[in-house]
Amino acid sequence: MDPLNNDQSTVASDRPVNRSRSLKNQEWSKNYHSAAVYGFLFVILLVCAGLWHVLTPDRGYSALEKRTLTQFPPLSLQNVASAEWMQKVEKYASDQFPARDAMMHLKSDISLRLGETESNGVYYCRDGSLIQKLDPWTPELLEKTTDAVAHFTERYAFRNRIFLMVPSAMVLSPEVLPFFVDNQLETSYLSAFLSRLPETVQAPDLLPLLNETKQSGERAFYLTDHHWTTTAAHHVFTSLASSFGWKESAMDFSVVSNHFLGALVSKSGYVPAMSDSILAGYDKEISVRISRTNGEIQSSFYRPEALGTSDEYLFFLGDNEPMLSITTTADTDDTLLVFKDSYANCFLPFLAASYKNIIVIDPRYYSEPVSSLFMTGGYTDVLFLYSPHTLAHNEALSILLEDEAPE
């Protein structure tokens, strides 16, 4: 055994021997000192990154990604033998990487410059706005959902059966989409859905109304978020009020934030051209009392404490809840049952003047049978308010409504 090559210290003192050897073997580099420095630097950088990784406190929840992050898994022989432990450690390491969000922005930005205008299902549009595309949908789920709505609205008596489907920005503004992107999936879903609803359900096409908002120079959708704006929601409300007997209350509108970065920023990693403002309408006459599922009571549709946080959209009603019960001071005995996704959150404040009681159900989280909602009596009206993003891929609504459908 050649003692010269056995360990580092002797090697360092006998550099020329090794120099000739590595030269002879494979002439990759002639720069020995630089190579040594580079090697040490490289290892030190990796070690520092590793330490940074370990020493940064673990996060439980990512507000940007809207999900709980993987925690370090407990070690057990069984876990290791089945490789489950290793998989979880890998997930943990990638979830808890300290600068993950910054890295994602860097990646999306470089990809965008190289021509890739889609990231994680979000388009970077020609006007700098971010628009979420609709994933391919199946006619089966569409039929299941429309059938469920039809059965449900036949089974119970309502004065008005209203279905508001908010089209996406893909449909409203095809002219800003990146080159060669079409909105076939979105338009076909909308028309198929609306035409399959029974005639007893009033399902106005909202596209012309959103177009009016757009023509008037206002944004109907946020630049950085998939939701429709308060302006668009209010315009739809006033335009439809007379057909559904809704009362228009006097409202004060004010901008509550100018720095809103919506969910599409975190989803895509794109750095948007500008941030959004959030507009809120405050009813001057009607006050409300909203009880949440956890028993919490609030006296406003809005949660100002969400402003300034990483997810300002929570300003509208807060987190998704299985059920909200809203009591208003409106001078009426009418009641309303709402099935909705988060698109309803900025729309509900306008309805406060028309109903004494509003029960708001998000079927994705609501697990009671639908009949339990009718134990204390019926409702004057029923409203479905949805976006295709939820309805085209989530069967919670049909499952809830078909809960006790006749066989």
Partner: protein, 460 residues
């Protein structure tokens, strides 16, 4: 474990390097490398640790007994080869073989799908090189079971090559240079391979995936964009992995054979395969082609030899008829080159390059497919036979969003970039160091943020 994961880059690699360089003496260094290699292997599928240990023991004993009982050498060698191939056959080709038997005899035996043990094709071939070379007297027997275990399980090249022959590391197992210069130079090579894998292969792979979404309804242009992206992805995935392996091996004091030398810049398929998966090609040449008689036989036998070698090369890449066909396709084309194309004087070189690329990429129609039906569908799509238009909206979109990346990929796969990289490392180390650290940071950013991170070569 794969190289492009947080665990490997931030924990496994620095820990391994630190301990390896700190412990004194080659024995201790060998122990460190062996332990880290076994952990590396066990990480994904711990149960298969037994498999590699069995393979190690089997080949170690084969070598030992060939030495101890010289009169039985041939018998022991054949037993060793058969057992190696049996292990490989059982874990990789079991359901394929069962399918053949079923269709031949009209049976319907069913098989339980076993997950493919990582790297089994690679380490089995390494082990075979040991027993065969030992029989031929080219190397001497390895009596130390730990050194032999280190040869088989050495983690840099364990799961995706290059296929290192025992003769290439025989001496290094007991005596090798471990110096700071080699650490730096090896890590630099590693970082270039890492960037190839993360920045190029994975990005091109994402483009390819978009073309595979609805295989029955893609336009001709989409199909071709898919094939080009796939071909480039394969090159960067595999050559990037080889660079990482060779670089790490160099850090630890080993000299692994080169693999992938800008193969897409070749003028013929014959040349392309000599520069492509070089360690596999030379393995088949050494242990199959030459024993069969090589080209020192009659024309008919020579043609047969070529077809056998290329059929087996295809089969090595995957258990399926279409992989065998893929190999034979190249065998036939090389014969065509030998007997026809190479006889044409003044064959324009531009045309030779384009023809070579076309033939090679066209073959990916078979290679990329999981099943025979998919392969057929891919060719229908490429050849205007599926009734779809030449291009459509989504093909144009793919061209706009993926086109720049395809051009960049083509540029980095060129011989020019290979030579630039080698020249930089040799003559302008500082420049190269800056570039490599920059690429490392960029690659880490991409690695952390992309979910799309599978090593394609796991399945081989």
């Amino acid at each position: 474990m794969v190289f492009s994961s947080n665990i490997f880059i931030f924990f496994f690699l620095p820990a391994c390097l630190l301990i390896y360089f700190l412990v004194p003496g080659i024995r201790a260094k060998n122990v460190v490398l062996l332990l880290f290699s076994l952990v590396f292997y066990a990480w994904g599928e711990p149960i298969y640790l037994f498999l590699i240990l069995i393979s190690i023991l089997l080949n170690y004993l084969t070598g030992l007994y060939m030495e101890r009982i010289p009169s039985w050498r041939k018998g022991i060698l054949i037993t060793g080869i058969v057992m190696n191939l049996a292990l490989l056959g059982f874990f990789k080709y079991y359901s394929f073989l069962l399918g053949i038997i079923n269709s031949l005899f009209g049976l319907s035996w069913t098989s339980r799908e076993l997950p493919l043990p990582i790297g089994i094709s690679f380490y089995t071939f390494q082990a075979l090189s040991y027993v065969i070379d030992l029989y031929r007297g080219k190397i001497s027997v390895q009596k130390n079971v730990f050194r032999f275990a280190l040869y088989i399980s050495l983690f840099p090249q364990l799961i995706a090559g290059p296929i290192v022959r025992y003769s290439e590391v025989e001496k290094a197992l007991s005596d090798r240079p471990v110096t700071p210069e080699r650490l730096g130079t090896g890590l630099m090579r590693f970082s270039y391979g890492f960037a190839k894998k993360i920045l190029l292969a994975n990005t091109l792979g994402a483009i390819y995936e978009k073309t595979r979404f609805q295989l029955e309804s893609v336009s001709v242009l989409t199909a071709w964009i898919g094939i080009i992206a796939y071909g480039l992805q394969i090159y960067f995935d595999f050559s990037g992995y080889s660079d990482m392996a060779i670089g790490l091996g160099y850090c630890f004091g080993f000299e692994f054979p080169d693999n992938f030398r800008a193969s897409y810049g070749s003028k013929s398929i014959t040349e392309l395969w000599r520069r492509h998966h070089m360690s596999l090609g030379s393995w088949f040449r050494e242990y199959v082609y030459i024993p069969l008689g090589g080209n020192r036989v009659g024309t008919f036998r020579y043609i047969l030899n070529i077809l056998i070698v290329w059929g087996l090369t295809g089969l090595w890449h995957g258990a399926g008829y279409h992989f065998v066909l893929w190999g034979l396709y190249f065998g036939v084309w090389m014969l065509f080159e030998k007997y026809v194309l190479f006889k044409i004087k003044h064959f324009p070189s531009v045309f030779a390059h384009l023809l070579t690329l076309f033939v090679f990429f066209f073959g990916f129609g078979m290679f990329q497919s999981a099943t025979w039906e998919q392969a057929v569908q891919s060719y229908r799509n490429m050849l205007f036979l599926s009734g779809m238009p030449a291009w459509d909206q989504s093909a144009l979109r793919l061209l706009v969003t993926g086109g720049p990346m395809l051009v960049i990929g083509g540029f980095f796969a060129s011989p020019f970039m290979l030579h630039t990289r080698e020249k930089l490392m040799k003559d302008h180390f500082t420049v190269s160091a800056v570039i490599s650290l920059f690429l490392m940071v960029l690659s880490i950013a991409f690695m952390v943020s992309q979910d799309y991170n599978p090593f394609l070569y796991y399945r081989f």
